[in-house]
Symmetry: C2
Subunit: 239 residues, 2 copies
């Protein structure tokens, strides 16, 4: 095994340029909720996912057959779209073999920023599969936390810490302080992540919008998906 594989953790997509290295694999993280939704949608049979940046772009797909169009802004579903950003929206057989077009506040931006890299998405829903996948690849890894509108967020950073620790137990080396901080935050929170996040900005935001069930599911999913969503030519497909 090549022991020189490195992990770096980018806390905010606005800083990605500093970390960018097209020889690395980028792991896009937006656990509340875009990358959880992506995992769930694939798990329930979605064929592919097209992340788009604007509502206008998303609207172009609305009349197409076999497309589902989903939009979220500021944690809320957007009027006039089929779906929002709740994992529960996708747990039904109507999504099977459909193409999902998705635009969200942060996660789809992070995917756009990383598009010149080999890029996968990760969440607590496909955590185990992501670990196995990254160990099999012989590449450095950049953990790209989506954050919230350019700001650091706790849940993505904690997820990055959990993933980094697992990789470091499998011959990866850490290359920056943000990874050390993320691992420490993971340790501080692992006994009860939901409670730990009680003061976090996005848990409070989702709580105020009656989306606590989404939060609970995304942080403690009731199953693991073995699908790795990977970005190819602007679409997420199964790796």
């Amino acid at each position: 095994m090549n022991t020189s594989k490195k992990i770096s953790t980018c806390f905010v997509s606005a800083l990605f340029e500093k970390y960018s290295n097209t020889e690395s694999i980028v792991v896009v993280i937006d656990v509340l909720r875009a990358t959880s939704v992506i995992s769930i949608a694939f798990h329930y049979g979605v064929k592919e996912i097209i992340p788009v940046q604007s509502l206008e772009e998303a609207k172009n797909y609305k009349s197409k057959e076999n497309f589902i169009v989903a939009a979220e802004r500021n944690a809320m579903p957007v009027d006039g779209f089929d779906y929002g950003n709740s994992p529960f929206h996708y747990m039904n057989e109507k999504v099977q073999n459909k193409t999902l077009v998705l635009t969200t506040t942060n996660g789809t931006k992070a995917l756009e920023i990383a598009k010149n890299h080999k890029t996968i998405t990760a969440s607590f829903v496909n955590f185990d599969a992501v670990v196995d996948y990254l160990i099999l690849q012989n590449k450095d890894v950049i953990l790209l936390c989506s954050g919230w509108k350019g700001f650091f967020n706790l849940e993505d950073s904690i997820f990055a810490g959990k993933l980094a620790e697992k990789l470091m137990n499998n011959a990866f080396q850490n290359s920056n302080d943000s990874t050390l901080a993320a691992i420490e935050l993971f340790h501080s929170s692992e006994a009860d992540l939901f409670s730990f996040l009680s003061n976090s900005s996005h848990r409070k935001r989702l709580k105020s919008l009656n989306m606590e069930e989404d939060t609970k599911f995304c942080l403690n999913p009731t199953f693991q998906s073995n699908i790795i969503p990977i970005l190819k030519d602007g679409k997420l497909i199964k790796a």
Copy 2:
């Protein structure tokens, strides 16, 4: 007491624009070592400090009477300058009543970025005085971690966490996840900060350069300075 005073923590000066609010006080943090050096220099009698961005700009002051010119790049002193970025350089009576011109890798950049705000500098050397000062002001506070060349660093973030917790015990409110993370990192490290930082990038950098004594002093200074360095018209003076 106005209970609406808010704290926000900016982990990297490159993100400062997102946090900027000229109604707030900015606290520039570069504990290893620029803001520690600034505290020490004032404590030992320096009259004022002119932070400059480039070596060329610093050189312009070299022949001036009653000026000390100090330069650091990549943790090293720069050839041809009177002083570097070690706090021990300033613990002598030659600095009394001098104007110190200082250019460093990160700290002086953070000062430049914040120059349109009311800006002070903080380190473990003047921690108590900074707390008292901020409590007396009736303003929101932005904790600006200098980081390392645009990357997150542990020591500045931990210091921000210590300061944020103290302020929150004095009627300040937190407004973002980065402050929560900083406080958590402070808690994880407070039993033995020097050991906690043993894997951090900058402690390793200073260790490799035989600057462990600088690190020890900056993290656990043997005295407290009651001086608040404040930026006025491009110069740091005593508040």
